[in-house]
């Protein structure tokens, strides 16, 4: 027989941990499945184990994660299972996952998807070369292992670009340059959104202080960069781009790309939850009701997996979902629920400004014909456009024609870029173009493991 649990939470970042703390605190059984060996997600990655030096570099917002992780560890009744990869969720809410080379199934009263965000694809020529990473990857190397490169060039748009640059300055390995796709002095046109964001002034203060630190360190900064291409034969050797009417060439073996983060839709798509296109965030989001429940009964989303709101909001959303599920079991805490709802509104007030300021560059939304979009199967934007011209109306048909999204990453990286290329070619809005249909297993698992899995499936119980 499968185990049962009141709640199965997928992901041990701020949202998943906070949800487990609230639910288990009210006596509900809560299983937390997470792929990583320690809690924290990407935002608080390794926060329990880093030394003072790394804590100082990563800053107070990162160090804050320590308290949340300790509370998570200390709350009785949380059944935390690290190194667990969820590979399927059935319509009966049986969550199937792999841990240590074996697969297990747990029947969940409620499923809470807390799988967070991924970096938006940044397809530019040369982005598959070794030495080219996401900006997030460089930050993970810094958080997890204290690994830094002294020649990093950070390319793209978004607050993470400046945050990592400031952290690298503090680590005494400042980036060689910042190449922003954001147009110069763009901020002046955003005064209405800036005014709206004053309810959450902490973000603006933090942003300005990061930028000041980077500027004071004398790091070359280019804005409005276009025609970005990474050079190299077997590994990145330079980045080339144009900015303010001039061509630039910066030699480097470490080039990190970033165009903001977007919800990780893999599980909500697998469950065929309804999604909508958010034109402000330029991404798909699962449709949620006021309780953060998806269109599928008893499947909830907490954190950035439902739209990008940041780590503080993710934690509040996790608490909210935990409290709401506990309320159904009779543990009603209306005051805390109301207070979390209003705090969440305040936190969200900075988003319209950030989304306008750091809108993804048109170059990554509509890459040149020769640029590879699907990294796994090496499919170019031009090939996708040709498939559209030949009659493929959406990502699933392009997938059948060209194998986009059929490699091991299963469209995690290229999905939004493929949808965007198709949308622009057909003239249809992204919502009508739709997204890849996601099928189990969510991540590859060995046939021997699948064969040995007995998961007490309904068929077996009957047979």
């Amino acid at each position: 027989m499968s185990e049962r649990s009141d709640i199965v939470i997928i992901g041990a970042g701020p949202a998943g941990m906070a949800c487990a703390i609230e639910a288990a605190g009210k006596g509900l059984s809560a299983v937390v499945l997470d792929e990583n060996p320690a809690p924290g997600g990407q935002i608080y990655r390794s926060v329990e184990s880093v030394g003072q030096k790394r804590l100082d570099i990563l800053g107070p917002d990162y160090a804050k994660g320590k308290a949340l992780v300790s509370a998570f560890r200390e709350t009785a009744g949380i059944d935390y299972r690290p190194c667990s990869t969820v590979w399927n969720i059935g319509s009966d809410r049986r969550v199937e996952f792999s841990q240590g080379g074996r697969s297990f199934g747990i029947l969940a009263g409620s499923v809470v998807v807390a799988t967070g965000a991924l970096e938006r694809p940044s397809p530019v020529p040369g982005w598959t070369l070794p030495g080219v990473t996401t900006v997030g990857a460089l930050q993970i190397l810094l958080k997890g292992s204290g690994v830094v490169y002294d020649d990093a060039v950070l390319v793209g748009a978004g607050p993470l670009l400046w945050l990592l640059a400031a952290q690298l300055v503090d680590a005494k390995t400042p980036p060689k340059a910042i190449v922003e796709t954001t147009p110069p002095r763009h901020v002046l046109g955003l005064l209405p959104q800036l005014f709206g964001s004053l309810a959450a002034p902490g973000y603006l203060r933090k942003g300005l202080s990061m930028m000041r630190k980077v500027r004071r360190a004398g790091i070359p900064h280019h804005s409005g960069a276009t025609n970005i291409r990474i050079e190299g034969d077997s590994q990145a050797t330079a980045v080339r781009f144009e900015s303010r009417g001039r061509s630039h060439h910066i030699a480097s073996s470490t080039i990190a790309l970033h165009q903001g983060v977007v919800p990780n839709q893999q599980i909500t798509r697998l469950l065929q939850c309804d999604h909508f296109w958010d034109d402000s965030q330029k991404c798909f989001r699962p449709l949620l009701d006021e309780r953060r429940q998806t269109s599928i009964q008893r499947v909830f989303v907490a954190g950035d997996g439902a739209g990008i709101e940041g780590a503080a909001s993710a934690e509040m959303q996790g608490r909210l979902v935990g409290l709401l599920i506990a309320a159904e079991a009779g543990h009603v805490e209306n005051e805390r629920i109301d207070s979390l709802q209003s705090q969440l509104k305040r936190e969200a007030s900075v988003r319209p400004f950030l989304e306008k300021l750091y809108a993804p560059s048109s170059e990554v939304l509509s890459p040149a014909d020769e640029t590879i979009v699907c990294r796994c199967e090496e499919v170019s934007a031009g090939a996708i456009r040709k498939a559209v011209d030949d009659g493929a109306p959406g990502p699933n048909q392009v997938k059948s024609f060209l194998r986009t999204g059929m490699g091991p990453c299963q469209g995690r990286v290229c999905g939004l870029a493929v949808a965007s290329v198709i949308s622009q070619r057909t003239g249809k809005p992204p919502e009508d173009v739709d997204y890849y249909r996601i099928r189990p297993p969510l991540k590859p698992l060995q046939l021997s493991e699948l064969a040995a899995y007995d998961g007490a499936s309904p068929d077996k119980a009957v047979g």
């Binding site: 030394g51 598959t128 070794p130 990857a137 993970i140 997890g144 002294d150 490699g407 990286v413």
Partner: protein, 97 residues
């Protein structure tokens, strides 16, 4: 060039392409190889072009390596362990008969 922030000694030794690499507790195979300034982790199954670490968080599958004879392991999601043998993944998976 790559460098390390802390002065933690490497305590774990594993093999990459037959050569010993030292790693520290908490490292993944990918971060240990990054610290050793190794960028090329596999060859693409389509063009054979070299690939390395890209996302470091288990999403992109660009860091697939062979560990102790098992292919398709995500280097960024696999904690290092003493004595493991890691190899570059070359091309497609061959099924042993």
């Amino acid at each position: 060039m790559v460098s390390l922030i802390d002065d933690i000694e490497g305590q774990i030794t594993f093999l990459f392409e037959g050569q010993p690499v030292t790693a520290r507790p908490g490292d993944t195979v990918a971060s240990a190889l990054a610290a050793a300034n190794t960028r090329h982790l596999r060859d693409s199954v389509v063009s054979g072009e070299p690939r390395g670490v890209f996302c470091m968080m288990g999403a992109c599958f660009d860091c697939l390596v062979e560990i102790d004879g098992v292919q398709n392991r995500q280097a960024c999601m696999t904690p290092v362990a003493d004595g493991i043998s890691v190899k570059r993944q070359r091309g497609g998976v061959e099924v042993a008969l």
